[in-house]
């Protein structure tokens, strides 16, 4: 079913981008670049880029720590300092890292912030997180309140409100730490570059409509979104990366090949799945392997929409820079209402001709998880397909139960196979 692991050019590029980011970050103070901490969903990368500040994404640090098996230590440290077992592990991982000297995932020290840009998109815990950070750093905080699309739409009031806050709160504070005024043209240039990369990324995700799918839109997808969800959006580097990625995928598509996975290329795809929810980072490869071993490929995922719904059609618009940033923040996946999220999932199942969908619920994240069981039922109703449900955590290894997840995934896929078998009697065995 599989062939040996192959490295593709875009993978190397992605890795280099990330490494470059952390070493530039470590030099930020020498380079006299102000440091701004902010979050991935609703991050204002182009605006930060226009000010040439160095952004830090605490969630990215947390997930990188987890993939390097360091998160458990950090979480323990935060719990020792009085944090509850119950709360979001991203927060604890980040706080623990800070308590242990703020040494980042690459071993370089992450500089303290000059500004906490609390873009409060799609997650309430962000706010609590920054309250805790502010106690430690005693620096300027810019609070950007992104209203939730609770009633299912973005109203003019919401958009105006966000733009207003950008103008009166965020930009002035950035101007203060950066020491210069905003150059609107630079912002526009960046937005134009974002748009170009977004086009390529969306094309890559859409390629999963082919059979076999040349990509894995969940496990592979999280690598693809790395640059565009963080500081690289709006840069030439990102444009180059996405062009390269697209070329790689085009080549696989032409060759009729499936995605490259840590356990080899998955071309013999027995199940096409849509996945909801973030992955587990502490056992990322083992987690992926469960799907791989069953011949299951993710053809679409919602996690790859948390930092921008490009696959669903969102594009930055250089013509209306602030409105476009506002729309970007308002439209991130976790800022959608539950019925809207169910619809995204159902649409994905249909558009990508999936055999089923799996909800991965993580203990940490109320923003994602609270209501997922309801979504499961709703999507089942909308698509007529059964859904699978598994649970673990983002970066807290204690909550990842491999055999349990494996058992559930296997049972789920056998169930899909049995249903398929019932309509095609010769193929009872999956």
């Amino acid at each position: 079913m599989t062939t040996p692991v192959r490295k593709e050019p875009s993978m190397e590029t992605q890795k280099a981008l990330l490494a470059g980011y952390f070493s530039r970050l470590a030099r930020a103070k020498e380079d006299k670049r102000p440091v701004v901490y902010t979050f991935v969903p609703g991050n204002l990368a182009e605006l930060l880029g226009a000010f040439d500040v160095a952004p830090v994404y605490p969630e990215v640090n947390a997930l990188q720590s987890a993939m390097r098996q360091r998160s458990s230590d950090f979480i323990r440290e935060a719990e020792r300092a009085g944090h509850s077992e119950d709360v979001c592990s991203y927060v604890k991982c980040d706080l623990g890292m800070m308590m242990k000297g703020n040494v980042g995932p690459t071993g370089e020290v992450i500089p303290p912030p000059d500004l906490l840009l609390l873009s409060f998109t799609g997650c309430f815990t962000f706010m609590k997180w920054f309250e805790l950070l502010r106690d430690q750093y005693d620096c300027e905080v810019a609070m950007l309140h992104i209203p939730y699309q609770g009633d299912g739409e973005i109203t003019d009031e919401m958009r105006r409100y966000v733009v207003d806050q950008l103008q009166r709160e965020v930009i002035p504070k950035l101007e203060k730490v950066a020491g210069h005024r905003l150059d609107l043209d630079r912002l526009r240039e960046r937005l134009a570059r974002s748009r170009k990369a977004e086009d390529d990324l969306a094309w890559v995700f859409r390629a999963a409509q082919h059979r076999p799918s040349p990509i894995d839109a969940y496990f592979g997808g999280v690598y693809y979104i790395g640059p565009i969800f963080t500081s690289f959006r709006g840069t030439d580097e990102a444009c180059a990366y996405y062009a390269e990625l697209r070329a790689d995928v085009e080549a696989r598509l032409a060759a009729g090949e499936g995605p490259t996975t840590p356990s080899g290329t998955l071309s013999d795809q027995k199940f096409r799945l849509v996945v909801e929810g973030p992955p587990n980072w502490t056992s990322f490869r083992d987690f992926w392997k469960i799907f791989h071993d069953e011949g299951a490929v993710a053809v679409a995922s919602t996690y790859t929409q948390v930092g921008g719904t490009y696959e669903r059609g969102f594009r930055h618009d250089p013509a209306n820079p602030l409105e476009s940033l506002a729309d970007y923040c308002l439209s991130c996946y976790t800022n959608l209402s539950l019925p809207a999220r169910s619809k995204v999932l159902a649409d994905m199942v249909k558009e990508y001709d999936a055999d089923g969908f799996v909800v991965h619920s993580v203990k940490s994240c109320n923003s994602f998880s609270a209501g997922q069981l309801h979504m499961l039922r709703e999507v089942e109703k909308l698509t007529g397909l059964p859904g699978g449900f598994i649970e673990s955590d983002l970066v807290d290894a204690r909550y990842y139960g491999h055999s349990n997840i494996k058992n559930r995934i296997e049972s789920y896929l056998q169930m899909l196979a049995a249903r398929r078998g019932a309509s095609r009697p010769t193929e009872v065995r999956a």
């Binding site: 119950d86 709360v87 706010m127 609070m143 609770g150 009031e157 019925p339 109320n366 998880s369 309801h374």
Partner: protein, 399 residues
């Protein structure tokens, strides 16, 4: 106007009868009294409000009774509600859904979901699909403190809500009605302040479980009726003439969106504490005289919402003063210590705890903390903890 009529509530001045009345109201999970209120006059609506910040004046002015929904505690088995939530999510949304699925909330015409946390935020979506007959509204009061942009946004939202509700009740969206509603709630708040003061002075006469159930009774009462009930209770309870026991005075602090079971309050008091202050029913605690701005009632309401009087975990702590505020409160009510309680799996409340305990430590105020769930039926560990805490304050004094 029906809402401004004098209280129709006939109240006894006998304490036992009052307490029975309070308990009956607290236990009225099927909202039969709300139904009676609605039936008493045409055009009345009842709208459920989830914690914490619901625009109750706006509802009341439009002729809709705000009914605060704070889960069902340990009073029903959560069965179907559990189907909606994984084990690592707090209990409140489950029992709230269970109430809905059992038909107990059928009397409500709609539900308001204020942005309290991600769980309640998402519950609004669950509600939209599960109870399509309800008018469901999500309100997102800005967390940014009082800024012109925030006020304008909230104002637009509330204006719209007011107009929509009035369209349903058939009233004119008059500012005067808003002013009258604010006044009615101010009256309730004054009664609440008197209640707090009385308890502070003689906690042995106003036990925590009674005071709490009284406030919960107010969750589903017209504001002036509630004020009358509170006032009657305070008078009667003060006359109870109990003797003070050798107990310590504590503040009970938490997020208190999900409420602890009443038995937990009893367990804490029996373990040797007097609860002299708590933040159990947050939404009732607005300041007694809502600040008016240029005489324009909606502006006052918006202003009050943005400058919430009481710090709590689900509001952004703009000035980083949550700890200092708590220390002040403890000192103001001459408490010997603080019981920090938080619902299990409640991110806002639990993330706040280390910040609060840090401030208490710095101020030399003893404290202990525990988690609970509204449905827990076992208080052994809470009794142990509160008891040990009381023991140690008693044996060693405050420091």
């Amino acid at each position: 106007m029906t809402t401004s009529a004098a209280p129709a509530l006939a109240l006894s001045d006998d304490l036992d009868e009052l307490v029975a009345e309070i308990e009956a109201r607290f236990d009225d999970l099927t909202l039969s009294r709300v139904r009676a209120w609605k039936d008493a006059a045409p055009g009345r609506l009842a709208v459920g409000c989830l914690p914490v910040l619901a625009p109750r004046e706006v509802l009341w002015a439009a002729g809709a009774l705000p009914v605060f929904i704070r889960g069902a505690g340990d009073r029903i088995d959560t069965i179907r509600g559990d189907a909606f939530y994984q084990s690592y999510i707090c209990h409140l949304p489950r029992s709230t859904l269970e109430l809905g699925l059992l038909g107990h909330l059928d009397v409500l015409d709609g539900m308001i979901f204020p942005n309290t946390c991600d769980v309640i935020r998402n519950l609004s979506g669950v509600w939209q699909t599960t109870f399509p007959q309800h008018f469901v509204r999500f309100v997102d009061p800005p967390q940014t403190g009082e800024r012109a942009t925030a006020a304008a946004f909230l104002r637009a939202d509330l204006d719209l809500l007011y107009r929509d509700l009035c369209a349903r009740t058939g009233r004119a969206p008059e500012p005067a009605a808003l002013a009258e509603a604010s006044e009615a709630y101010a009256e309730a708040a004054r009664a609440m302040a008197a209640l707090a003061a009385a308890r502070l002075a003689e906690p042995w006469n106003l036990p925590a479980d009674e005071v709490y159930q009284l406030r919960r009774a107010g969750d589903a009462m017209p504001p002036r009726d509630f004020a009358a009930l509170v006032t009657a209770y305070v008078t009667a309870a003060r006359g109870r003439g109990r003797r003070a026991e050798d107990r310590i005075r504590v503040c009970l602090v938490g997020a208190f969106c999900e409420q602890p079971p009443v038995a937990l309050l009893r367990a804490a008091e029996r373990a040797g504490c007097y609860v002299v202050d708590d933040d159990l029913t947050l939404s009732h605690e607005s300041s007694p005289t809502a600040p008016r701005r240029d005489g324009e009632p909606m502006a006052s309401i918006v202003h009050a919402a943005l400058t919430t009087p009481r710090a709590c975990a689900v509001r952004y702590d703009e000035h980083g003063a949550a700890g200092a505020t708590l220390v002040e409160r403890v000192r103001a009510c001459r408490a010997d210590g603080v019981l920090l309680a938080a619902p299990s799996f409640c991110d806002p409340a639990l993330l706040d705890q280390p910040r609060l305990t840090g401030a208490l430590d710095a101020a030399g105020i003893p404290h202990t903390s525990f988690k609970y769930s509204e449905s827990s039926g076992q208080f052994q560990s809470i009794r142990e903890q509160a008891g040990t805490f009381a023991d140690s304050v008693k044996l060693w004094g405050t420091a």
